[in-house]
Amino acid sequence: SQQGEEDPQALSIQEGENATMNCSYKTSINNLQWYRQNSGRGLVHLILIRSNEREKHSGRLRVTLDTSKKSSSLLITASRAADTASYFCATGEMNTGFQKLVFGTGTRLLVSP
Protein backbone atom coordinates (compact mmCIF):
# COMPACT_ATOMS: atom_id res chain seq x y z
CA SER A 1 0.00 0.00 0.00
CA GLN A 2 1.06 3.58 -0.46
CA GLN A 3 3.18 5.23 2.15
CA GLY A 4 1.49 8.62 2.17
CA GLU A 5 -2.07 9.76 2.22
CA GLU A 6 -2.96 13.38 1.52
CA ASP A 7 -5.90 15.24 2.92
CA PRO A 8 -8.07 16.78 1.62
CA GLN A 9 -8.39 15.03 -1.74
CA ALA A 10 -9.51 18.31 -3.30
CA LEU A 11 -9.37 21.93 -2.22
CA SER A 12 -10.95 24.95 -3.86
CA ILE A 13 -10.00 28.48 -2.79
CA GLN A 14 -9.85 32.05 -4.07
CA GLU A 15 -6.71 33.88 -5.10
CA GLY A 16 -5.00 35.46 -2.13
CA GLU A 17 -6.18 32.84 0.34
CA ASN A 18 -3.91 30.33 2.00
CA ALA A 19 -4.05 26.64 1.09
CA THR A 20 -3.17 23.91 3.56
CA MET A 21 -2.84 20.26 2.68
CA ASN A 22 -1.84 17.42 4.94
CA CYS A 23 0.05 14.19 4.51
CA SER A 24 0.13 11.15 6.77
CA TYR A 25 2.64 8.36 6.38
CA LYS A 26 3.10 4.93 7.87
CA THR A 27 6.70 4.10 8.66
CA SER A 28 9.88 5.76 9.87
CA ILE A 29 11.36 8.28 7.48
CA ASN A 30 14.59 10.20 7.06
CA ASN A 31 12.95 12.95 5.03
CA LEU A 32 9.63 13.90 3.50
CA GLN A 33 9.25 15.64 0.16
CA TRP A 34 6.46 17.56 -1.50
CA TYR A 35 5.92 17.58 -5.25
CA ARG A 36 3.62 19.45 -7.56
CA GLN A 37 1.99 18.19 -10.76
CA ASN A 38 0.39 20.44 -13.30
CA SER A 39 -2.29 18.81 -15.40
CA GLY A 40 -0.81 16.40 -17.91
CA ARG A 41 2.77 16.96 -16.77
CA GLY A 42 5.36 15.18 -14.71
CA LEU A 43 5.92 15.92 -11.04
CA VAL A 44 8.23 18.70 -9.93
CA HIS A 45 10.02 18.77 -6.59
CA LEU A 46 8.98 21.63 -4.30
CA ILE A 47 10.57 21.21 -0.91
CA LEU A 48 12.19 18.63 1.35
CA ILE A 49 12.10 18.46 5.13
CA ARG A 50 14.39 16.18 7.08
CA SER A 51 13.19 14.04 9.96
CA ASN A 52 15.08 16.17 12.49
CA GLU A 53 13.41 19.37 11.26
CA ARG A 54 10.01 20.61 12.38
CA GLU A 55 9.42 23.45 9.96
CA LYS A 56 10.87 24.70 6.71
CA HIS A 57 10.14 27.65 4.47
CA SER A 58 10.72 28.28 0.78
CA GLY A 59 9.17 31.41 -0.69
CA ARG A 60 5.40 31.11 -0.21
CA LEU A 61 5.71 27.50 0.92
CA ARG A 62 5.81 26.39 4.53
CA VAL A 63 6.18 22.74 5.46
CA THR A 64 5.83 21.25 8.91
CA LEU A 65 6.69 17.78 10.07
CA ASP A 66 5.49 15.93 13.16
CA THR A 67 7.28 12.60 13.32
CA SER A 68 5.40 11.56 16.48
CA LYS A 69 2.12 11.78 14.54
CA LYS A 70 3.68 10.67 11.27
CA SER A 71 2.24 13.68 9.52
CA SER A 72 3.27 16.70 7.51
CA SER A 73 1.51 19.77 6.21
CA LEU A 74 2.16 22.03 3.25
CA LEU A 75 0.96 25.62 3.44
CA ILE A 76 0.87 27.81 0.36
CA THR A 77 0.36 31.44 1.34
CA ALA A 78 -1.28 34.10 -0.81
CA SER A 79 -2.34 31.56 -3.45
CA ARG A 80 -2.35 32.43 -7.12
CA ALA A 81 -4.28 30.93 -10.01
CA ALA A 82 -0.96 29.50 -11.22
CA ASP A 83 -0.80 27.38 -8.05
CA THR A 84 -3.65 25.27 -9.41
CA ALA A 85 -2.18 21.77 -9.55
CA SER A 86 -2.04 18.48 -7.68
CA TYR A 87 0.31 18.21 -4.73
CA PHE A 88 1.89 15.00 -3.49
CA CYS A 89 3.99 14.05 -0.51
CA ALA A 90 6.66 11.39 -0.87
CA THR A 91 8.81 9.41 1.53
CA GLY A 92 11.51 6.81 1.28
CA GLU A 93 10.83 3.38 2.72
CA MET A 94 13.09 2.56 5.63
CA ASN A 95 13.64 -1.07 4.63
CA THR A 96 15.27 0.09 1.40
CA GLY A 97 17.59 2.57 3.03
CA PHE A 98 14.98 5.27 2.37
CA GLN A 99 15.72 5.11 -1.35
CA LYS A 100 12.47 3.58 -2.58
CA LEU A 101 10.39 6.71 -3.10
CA VAL A 102 6.68 6.20 -2.47
CA PHE A 103 3.99 8.80 -3.10
CA GLY A 104 0.62 9.53 -1.60
CA THR A 105 -2.65 9.93 -3.45
CA GLY A 106 -2.37 13.70 -3.78
CA THR A 107 -4.44 16.82 -3.14
CA ARG A 108 -5.99 18.63 -6.11
CA LEU A 109 -5.85 22.37 -5.53
CA LEU A 110 -7.98 24.78 -7.55
CA VAL A 111 -7.27 28.48 -7.11
CA SER A 112 -9.91 30.70 -8.69
CA PRO A 113 -9.17 34.29 -9.78
Binding site: S1, Q2, E6, N31, Q33, Y35, G40, R41, G42, L43, V44, H45, L48, F88, A90, T96, Q99, K100, L101, V102, F103, G104, T105, G106
Partner: protein, 110 residues
Protein backbone atom coordinates in the same frame (compact mmCIF):
# COMPACT_ATOMS: atom_id res chain seq x y z
CA UNK B 1 19.54 17.79 -23.95
CA UNK B 2 19.99 17.28 -20.23
CA UNK B 3 17.16 15.74 -18.32
CA UNK B 4 14.91 12.74 -18.34
CA UNK B 5 12.92 11.79 -21.39
CA UNK B 6 10.23 9.22 -21.98
CA UNK B 7 9.11 7.76 -25.26
CA UNK B 8 6.64 7.45 -26.73
CA UNK B 9 4.43 10.16 -25.23
CA UNK B 10 1.29 8.39 -26.42
CA UNK B 11 0.71 4.77 -27.32
CA UNK B 12 -2.33 2.72 -28.25
CA UNK B 13 -1.88 -1.03 -28.27
CA UNK B 14 -4.04 -4.10 -28.43
CA UNK B 15 -4.68 -6.56 -25.65
CA UNK B 16 -2.07 -9.29 -25.60
CA UNK B 17 0.65 -7.34 -27.38
CA UNK B 18 4.05 -6.64 -25.91
CA UNK B 19 4.91 -2.98 -25.55
CA UNK B 20 8.02 -1.25 -24.22
CA UNK B 21 8.14 2.19 -22.72
CA UNK B 22 11.50 3.90 -22.82
CA UNK B 23 13.15 6.13 -20.25
CA UNK B 24 16.48 7.89 -20.62
CA UNK B 25 18.28 10.22 -18.20
CA UNK B 26 21.43 12.23 -18.74
CA UNK B 27 22.53 12.87 -15.15
CA UNK B 28 23.94 9.40 -14.39
CA UNK B 29 21.60 9.18 -11.41
CA UNK B 30 21.83 5.88 -9.60
CA UNK B 31 18.15 5.45 -8.82
CA UNK B 32 15.40 5.17 -11.39
CA UNK B 33 11.71 4.49 -10.92
CA UNK B 34 8.62 3.59 -12.88
CA UNK B 35 5.21 4.72 -11.62
CA UNK B 36 1.73 4.43 -12.98
CA UNK B 37 -0.87 7.10 -12.28
CA UNK B 38 -4.56 6.31 -12.23
CA UNK B 39 -7.45 8.41 -11.04
CA UNK B 40 -8.03 7.83 -7.35
CA UNK B 41 -4.77 5.98 -6.81
CA UNK B 42 -2.16 8.69 -7.09
CA UNK B 43 1.24 7.38 -8.15
CA UNK B 44 1.96 3.72 -7.59
CA UNK B 45 5.46 2.34 -7.84
CA UNK B 46 5.90 -0.46 -10.36
CA UNK B 47 9.65 -1.12 -10.27
CA UNK B 48 12.74 0.71 -9.23
CA UNK B 49 16.44 0.34 -9.78
CA UNK B 50 19.34 1.25 -7.52
CA UNK B 51 22.01 0.91 -10.23
CA UNK B 52 22.72 -0.86 -13.49
CA UNK B 53 21.70 -4.51 -13.25
CA UNK B 54 19.95 -3.97 -9.89
CA UNK B 55 16.16 -3.82 -9.96
CA UNK B 56 13.42 -4.48 -7.44
CA UNK B 57 9.65 -4.67 -7.32
CA UNK B 58 7.41 -1.88 -6.17
CA UNK B 59 3.76 -1.98 -5.18
CA UNK B 60 2.26 -3.15 -8.48
CA UNK B 61 4.86 -5.15 -10.47
CA UNK B 62 2.65 -7.89 -11.91
CA UNK B 63 2.54 -7.89 -15.70
CA UNK B 64 5.62 -5.69 -16.04
CA UNK B 65 9.28 -6.40 -16.68
CA UNK B 66 12.21 -4.01 -16.38
CA UNK B 67 15.88 -4.08 -17.23
CA UNK B 68 18.77 -1.76 -16.65
CA UNK B 69 21.84 -2.72 -18.61
CA UNK B 70 23.05 0.90 -18.70
CA UNK B 71 22.78 3.52 -15.98
CA UNK B 72 21.01 5.99 -18.23
CA UNK B 73 18.25 3.73 -19.54
CA UNK B 74 15.40 2.01 -17.72
CA UNK B 75 12.86 0.49 -20.12
CA UNK B 76 9.54 -0.87 -18.89
CA UNK B 77 7.96 -3.75 -20.81
CA UNK B 78 4.39 -4.93 -20.65
CA UNK B 79 4.76 -8.55 -21.71
CA UNK B 80 1.11 -9.10 -22.66
CA UNK B 81 -0.85 -5.89 -22.32
CA UNK B 82 -4.22 -5.93 -20.59
CA UNK B 83 -6.90 -3.24 -20.43
CA UNK B 84 -6.18 -2.76 -16.73
CA UNK B 85 -2.73 -1.49 -17.73
CA UNK B 86 -4.27 1.50 -19.45
CA UNK B 87 -2.69 4.34 -17.50
CA UNK B 88 -0.23 7.20 -17.52
CA UNK B 89 3.29 5.96 -16.83
CA UNK B 90 5.98 8.14 -15.31
CA UNK B 91 9.67 7.48 -15.15
CA UNK B 92 11.83 9.26 -12.57
CA UNK B 93 15.45 9.39 -11.58
CA UNK B 94 17.04 10.35 -8.29
CA UNK B 95 20.56 11.33 -7.47
CA UNK B 96 20.73 12.04 -3.77
CA UNK B 97 17.43 13.37 -2.50
CA UNK B 98 14.94 14.84 -4.95
CA UNK B 99 13.49 12.96 -7.89
CA UNK B 100 13.14 14.26 -11.42
CA UNK B 101 10.25 13.10 -13.56
CA UNK B 102 9.74 12.58 -17.23
CA UNK B 103 6.71 13.97 -19.03
CA UNK B 104 4.88 10.69 -18.93
CA UNK B 105 3.58 8.14 -21.43
CA UNK B 106 -0.16 7.82 -21.88
CA UNK B 107 -0.82 4.17 -22.72
CA UNK B 108 -4.18 2.91 -23.88
CA UNK B 109 -4.79 -0.82 -24.22
CA UNK B 110 -7.78 -1.64 -26.40
Amino acid sequence: DAGITQSPRYKITETGRQVTLMCHQTWSHSYMFWYRQDLGHGLRLIYYSAAADITDKGEVPDGYVVSRSKTENFPLTLESATRSQTSVYFCASRGSLEAFFGQGTRLTVV
